[in-house]
């Protein structure tokens, strides 16, 4: 100990001298710098006066690890970011479309062909021009049977999309056409007025020059995965993070404001997101529901940073109608009238959901959940429910089979507990809630063992067709055992129509059929809070200050303030 004493003393003196020397100097120089010139990001954006210095312009969010960077192989496998991929157009906070990779676009007279005129100075982050050939190549590759893309069906409404994917026709027959170096068109089977939603939800170009050189491996390594967006992929530290830095070749409308965007990789289950956010390890984009939401709302700091909205998600009781007891409409109706949705959301879920009697989530286009007629089909009425059950041949639940009500992946456990209690009290039926993993759930569904479950449907794009079409989808009707001519006619008539009251009338009629025949028991829409730290400023919000639905411009002008 004694031997080191002089050394320690020296070190201590050194530290004191350095600290004393630095402390007053550093802020002074910073101050001078700030006053003399504004902060201009590497992406070329002059940041507002309250912006923090460039080295602090880092935005960190969290997400699970992708398999690769190829969004045109399987979107949900890849890392997909609005930061690195520039799509044809961007949806603004109010649901309006703004040019992005395309300067303009037009729809043909017959409503089937969309022609896109690309921005001509667009470049990949390696300096190679982005051309219409890249786009055409990408769409063809997406549907190429060899790719075995599990999401290929998303573009099946392109002319010959499904046939090409099944290997029945050649690629030339596909409704994707190269017109010139900066122009291409997409042709759908039938007119789809909301096609911009679909196409910009999923489609991004892949760098053809890299795919041709490296095959599918191009997307495994940042070095061979150039981007066409404001940011490029700088580093992928597997299991830890992905780091994006400004794309030096980006010349588009949404230049990078941040010096770095970081996606902190979290495990598929178990990461304490809210605590990560509170500890300051991520800056925003944290969505919380359920108990976490209750905690956020009660916390003076967190509640200030929360953007609260009803999720575009409908939670419903799924029933297999192929076999007893749910082939009997009276049983399904009894279930529908036996669930006290208000008690569920207000008491059990402590205000983290809102009651629903229809399939469309609140505030979704064409949603008319307040329609008394719709509500009457599934309103809480325990006496009516018991009557219906008796009429169905199960008075007081007598003779009703004991079933398992399934939930999956740790979701809706408490909701299922509450609902089975209500069904037991009001109908005398015995359902045992069981939460299972997804693979088992799907297997049970496939082989018909799953008779009743608490399920959800979330929007992929903002059009009612995304919700109502599901029930008529061959895959869904295979599981529910339900098809209906009238329903199909309504949605087929509504689908190609431009958005209007008439279109919504048709959809509402269809939704009333679902509620009337209790094809599903529609229960609630969850509420969500999305958190952004107060030092993240410049978010592009809706006029009334919410995040907006699929707002693709949220972070376009965001920056870090200096407090």
């Amino acid at each position: 100990m004694n031997r080191f004493a002089p050394l320690i003393a020296l070190l201590a003196v050194l530290i004191m001298v350095t600290a004393a020397g630095c402390a007053p100097v550093a802020p002074a120089s910073e101050m001078a710098g700030e006053e003399m010139m504004e902060v201009v990001s590497t992406g070329g954006v002059a940041l507002p006066d309250d912006a923090a210095p460039l080295d602090q312009q880092v935005f960190r969010s969290a997400g699970i690890e992708g398999k690769h960077f190829d969004t045109m192989r399987n979107e949900y496998e890849g890392f997909a970011y609005e930061a690195t991929i520039e799509q044809l157009a961007k949806m603004g906070p109010e649901g309006d479309w703004h040019p992005a990779a395309a300067d303009s676009w037009e729809l043909s007279e017959d409503g089937r062909t969309w022609t896109f005129h690309l921005r001509q100075d667009a470049m990949w982050s390696d300096g190679t021009p982005v051309t219409a050939e890249d786009w055409v190549y990408s769409f063809r590759r997406y549907l190429n049977p060899e790719m075995a893309n599990v999401y290929a069906w998303f573009l099946f409404d392109l002319e010959n999309g499904e046939a090409y994917n099944k290997g029945e026709v050649d690629v030339e027959e596909l409704g994707v056409e190269l017109i010139d170096e900066y122009t291409f068109s997409l042709t759908t089977k039938v007119p789809i007025p909301y096609y911009m939603f679909k196409i910009n939800w999923h489609a991004a170009p892949v760098p053809r020059h890299m795919v041709e050189e490296h095959g599918d491996d191009w997307a495994n390594d940042p070095a061979t995965a150039p981007s066409n967006g404001p940011y490029r992929i700088a580093e992928w530290n597997r299991g830890k993070n992905v780091i994006f830095t400004p794309n030096p070749y980006y010349t588009g409308r949404y230049p990078a404001t941040f010096e770095q965007r970081v996606q902190v990789i979290i495990p598929e289950v178990g990461a304490p997101l809210l605590q990560m956010y509170q500890a300051g390890d991520i800056d925003g984009g944290v969505g919380v529901t359920g108990d976490d939401l209750v905690q956020v709302l009660a916390d003076p700091q967190l509640s200030q940073e929360a953007y609260i909205s009803v999720m575009n998600r409908g939670v419903y009781i799924y029933m297999n109608q192929r076999t007893p007891p749910f082939d009997n409409m009276l049983v399904r109706k009894a279930f529908a009238h036996a669930v006290d949705r208000t008690a569920l959301c207000d008491n059990v879920m402590r205000g983290t959901c809102i009651p629903a009697h229809g399939f469309l989530p609140k505030d979704f286009p064409c949603e008319r959940n307040d329609d008394p007629e719709l509500i009457a089909y599934q309103n809480y009425d325990p006496e009516l429910a018991a009557d219906l059950m008796a009429q169905a041949g199960y008075p007081g639940g007598e003779g009703f089979p004991e079933l398992t009500i399934f939930t999956k992946e740790g979701e809706f456990i408490r909701e299922a507990e509450a609902i089975q209690r209500m069904l037991a009290d009001n109908l005398g039926v015995k359902l045992t809630p069981q939460n299972v993993e997804r693979a088992f759930y799907v297997d049970q569904m496939r082989n018909g063992e799953l008779k009743v479950a608490l399920n959800r449907w979330g929007a992929d794009f903002i059009d009612p067709s995304n919700f109502v079409d599901w029930w008529d989808d061959p895959a869904a009707s295979y599981f529910t055992g339900w098809t209906d001519e009238e329903y199909r006619n309504l949605i087929d008539t509504a689908r190609p129509m431009a958005m209007s009251t008439e279109r919504c009338d048709l959809y509402h009629e269809a939704l009333k059929i679902l509620a009337r025949d209790a094809i599903g028991v529609f229960v609630m829409n969850p509420v969500q809070a999305v958190l952004y730290k107060d030092y993240v400023s410049g978010l592009t919000l809706t006029d009334d200050g919410t995040l907006g639905v699929y707002n693709m411009m949220l972070l376009d002008s965001a920056y870090i303030t200096d407090n």
Partner: protein, 313 residues
Amino acid sequence: MTRYVLGRFAGIIGVLFIVSIMIFLMIHTIPGGPFDAMPTTSEFREIPEHIREKLMAKYGLDKPLYVQYFRYMWAALRGDFGISFRYGEPVTDFISRSWPATAQLGLSAMAIGIPIGIGLGILAALRPNTWLDYLTNVVVITTFVTPVFVIAIMSIIIFAVILKWLPSGGWGEPKQWILPTFVYALGQIGGMARFTRASMVDAMQAEYVRTARAKGLRESAVVMRHAFRSASLPLVTLLGPMVVNLLLGSFFIEAIFRIPGIGGQITLALYNRDYPVIMALILLWTFAIAIAYLVTDLLYGVVDPRIRVGGTM
């Protein structure tokens, strides 16, 4: 001795083959497959049949089970454990990049947890039924019965959220190592201390301890050379599998602290029906456990000459 070890190794290889068949059959028998539904989204959607068939063929899952097994084993014997369905990279790459974090965490937790656990156990045994013993007991039982994920989340709330001394997780910088290492070590201390105390209390009452004391040996020599040596026999039994568990990681610790290790991967791989990863990790686990027991058996001989194997050492 050498013959004994060689014999045991042959046994281990046999066990690996049997386990490989059992696991292979089991993972293919559990309901649900890797390509039954859309990956990573919770909404239920069917993968179109023609695409499903292609994927099954791509990964060789359309072949009869015995063909799949022999193909797998033939490749595995040459060091090729297949490609992870979930991560899209070779399983060997995946394990070799993930294991270092897990091993580092396990070794550090061991380095802290085992000495403290043994120390606490000995202290408690030397003063049985005193305040020291009770205090140790309270600490030990609390850490032993509190689930590790509770301790982990609590530690994040205290040290990362409230005090802001340490990051909430992640892996790479030394300050990110502190919380998971200590939480992990805490879990080991409880078990270690309990077992040490129990066997030390027995040993301290043995006749040879009284003899040693009667010889006039210093108390420290009595405790360490005589009592602890024989008391450590059950600890050696405990240590083998414990070391393996520590080296192969903990699901909760790695998930909660976002550590890119292999600890959580068996669970996740089962969940995702990621057959190649499940196979490789379970075989690795089996191998490690078998080796640990072999080492344990050899250590018995070091600790207690009466049970030395294979003749003289």
